[in-house]
C-alpha cells in the first residue's frame, strides 16, 4: 500500500508529497545527472564555461556541435540534461537579452537574465499538465564583474565561484574545491575548468571540449590548441 501511495505523488508536477517534495522536479534532476557535464569557473575578471561534447559516431555529420551557446555580447549558456529542453531555454535567454536592449538600451545583467530564465522554469513546477524542464543551466557572463549562475529544474538560482552540472558533477566540484584560489587569471581559470571536466568524465580529450571564455570585452570560443595547452599545463 505504501508503494502505491508514494507513486501517486509523482503523477502530477503540482502535487506535493506528504513530506513536502515534488517528485517530478526531483526526477528532472535525475535527468540532469545523466546529461553530459558542463562546468564553469569564475576568475578574477573572467568566467570560463566548458562542456563535454564527444563525437558519438564517426558518421555524425554536424561535427562541430555547439554545446556552449552565446547570448548577446556578454553571456554564454550551457545546459546538462535534455538537449532539446536546453535549446528552448537558450532561445528564451537570447530573446530576453534583446528585450533588455530594446527596453533600456543596455546589456542585460547576468543575474537578471538568469532570474528571467529561472522564472520560466518555476512556472513548470506549479502549473498542471506540463512536465518540468529536464535540464540545468550554467550561465556565465560579464556585466562589469564576472558572474556564474546555476539554474536548476525547480527554478532555483545560485551564484558560484566554480560549479558543475550533469554526470560526474560531484567529482568536478570536489576538484574545484581543492584547486580554486583567489584571483585566477584567464589561463588559470581555463586550466581549472578543464581539470574539473577531466574529473567528471575521466581521461578528457581536449578535442571533445567546447569552451567559451567570457571577459569584459565579450565572449570568445576557446580554440582546440589553447584547450590542449591549458589542459596539459594543468595535469
Amino acid at each position: 500500500m505504501q508503494g502505491t501511495d508514494q507513486q501517486a505523488y509523482d503523477r502530477g508536477t503540482t502535487i506535493f508529497s506528504p513530506d513536502g517534495r515534488l517528485y517530478q522536479v526531483e526526477y528532472a534532476r535525475e535527468a540532469v545527472g545523466q546529461g553530459a557535464p558542463v562546468v564553469g569557473v569564475r576568475g578574477e575578471d573572467s568566467v570560463v564555461l566548458a562542456a563535454h561534447a564527444p563525437d558519438r559516431s564517426p558518421l555524425a555529420a554536424d561535427g562541430d556541435t555547439e554545446k556552449v551557446s552565446g547570448v548577446d555580447d556578454h553571456v554564454a549558456v550551457a545546459g546538462a540534461g535534455h538537449a532539446a529542453d536546453t535549446r528552448q531555454l537558450v532561445d528564451l535567454a537570447r530573446r530576453r537579452a534583446q528585450q533588455e536592449r530594446v527596453r533600456y538600451g543596455e546589456r542585460v545583467p547576468v543575474d537578471e537574465l538568469a532570474t528571467a530564465v529561472a522564472d520560466h522554469l518555476q512556472e513548470y513546477t506549479q502549473s498542471g499538465g506540463a512536465r518540468p524542464y529536464g535540464t540545468a543551466l550554467l550561465v556565465a557572463g560579464h556585466d562589469g564583474t564576472p558572474g556564474l549562475v546555476e539554474i536548476d529544474p525547480s527554478g532555483a538560482t545560485r551564484s558560484w565561484r566554480a560549479d558543475a552540472v550533469g554526470s560526474g558533477a560531484s567529482d568536478a566540484i570536489e576538484r574545484f574545491e581543492d584547486g580554486y584560489g583567489p584571483a585566477l587569471g584567464d589561463g588559470d581559470a581555463l586550466a581549472l575548468v578543464l581539470d574539473g571536466l577531466d574529473a567528471a568524465v575521466g581521461e578528457l580529450d581536449a578535442a571533445d571540449v567546447d569552451a567559451t571564455l567570457v571577459t569584459s570585452t565579450g565572449t570568445e570560443r576557446v580554440g582546440e590548441d589553447r584547450l590542449r595547452a591549458a589542459h596539459e599545463s594543468a595535469s
Binding site: 500500500m1 502505491t4 501511495d5 501517486a8 505523488y9 503523477r11 502530477g12 508536477t13 503540482t14 502535487i15 551557446s69 552565446g70 547570448v71 548577446d72 528552448q88 532561445d91 528564451l92 537570447r94 530573446r95 537579452a97 534583446q98 528585450q99 536592449r101 530594446v102 538600451g105 520560466h120 512556472e123 502549473s127 498542471g128 499538465g129 506540463a130
Partner: protein
Amino acid sequence: MLFRPWAFALVVRPTHHSDDRTAGQTGGERRPLHERDPGLVEDSGSAADAAETGTTVVGVTTEDAAVLAADQRASVGGGRFVTNKDTRKVEQIHPTAAAALSGTVGHLQQFVRVLRSESRLYADRRGDPPSLTALSTLAGGVLRSSPLAVSPLLGGVDEERGPAVFTLDGGGGVLTDDYAAGGSGMQLAYGVLEQDYEPDLAPSEARQVAARAVGSASERDTASGNGVTVATVTREGVETDEYDAVEEVA
C-alpha cells in the same frame, strides 16, 4: 477508499497556461521579436509636439563601400523651430550595415533599437548576422506591420551583394539603388547626386558627394542643417564621423 491525488492532477490546465505558453514564451517558432511582441513597434499615438527630423539623408555605393550621410537637425512644425542641433540620424544596426533615418525622432530611435536587436538575435540563433537581403526584408516587414513614421535608407556590405543601398518607405517598400536620397530635403540632394554621382567613386569622393548633397539641401530646406554625419560601411564594419561643415568632409 484510497485517496488518489493523480485523479485530480490530470484535470485542467490553468488558463494562463495555454496560449501564451505554447505560442508565446517557448513555442517552437523562432520568430523575430517584433512579431512576438507587436507592442515594440506600435504607435502610442502621434503627439502633435513630437520632434521630427525633417532631414536630408543620402546613400551612395562605391566599389567597396556604402556611404550614408545625414544632417543633424531636429525640428517641430516642419522646420519652423529647431529643437536640437546635434541629432544623430545615421546609426549602425548590424556589423556591416547602417541606417540613415528621417521621420519622427521617437519612432526612428525605436526602429533602430528593434533592428539592432533583431540582427543580434538572428546572429545568436544562426551563427551569422543577417544578409542585406534578410536585413532589408526584415526592416520592410517592421515598417509594413507598424505605424512607425520612419522612412530610412539602409546601407551595407555583404558577401552576396557587395555594397548596397536600399530605400524603405512607411508601407514596407524596399527598393535598392546605386544612390538614393530621402527626407524633406530629398529633391535638393538628388540635384547634387544626379550631377556628381559616378559608379567608380573612391570612398573619400563618395563621402564628399554625399556630404555635398546633404549640404546643398541644408542651405534651402529649413528642416535640414546644423552639420553632417557620414558613415562609411565596408566589410570591416561601420565608421561614423561628424562634421560641422560640408567642406571638412574628407
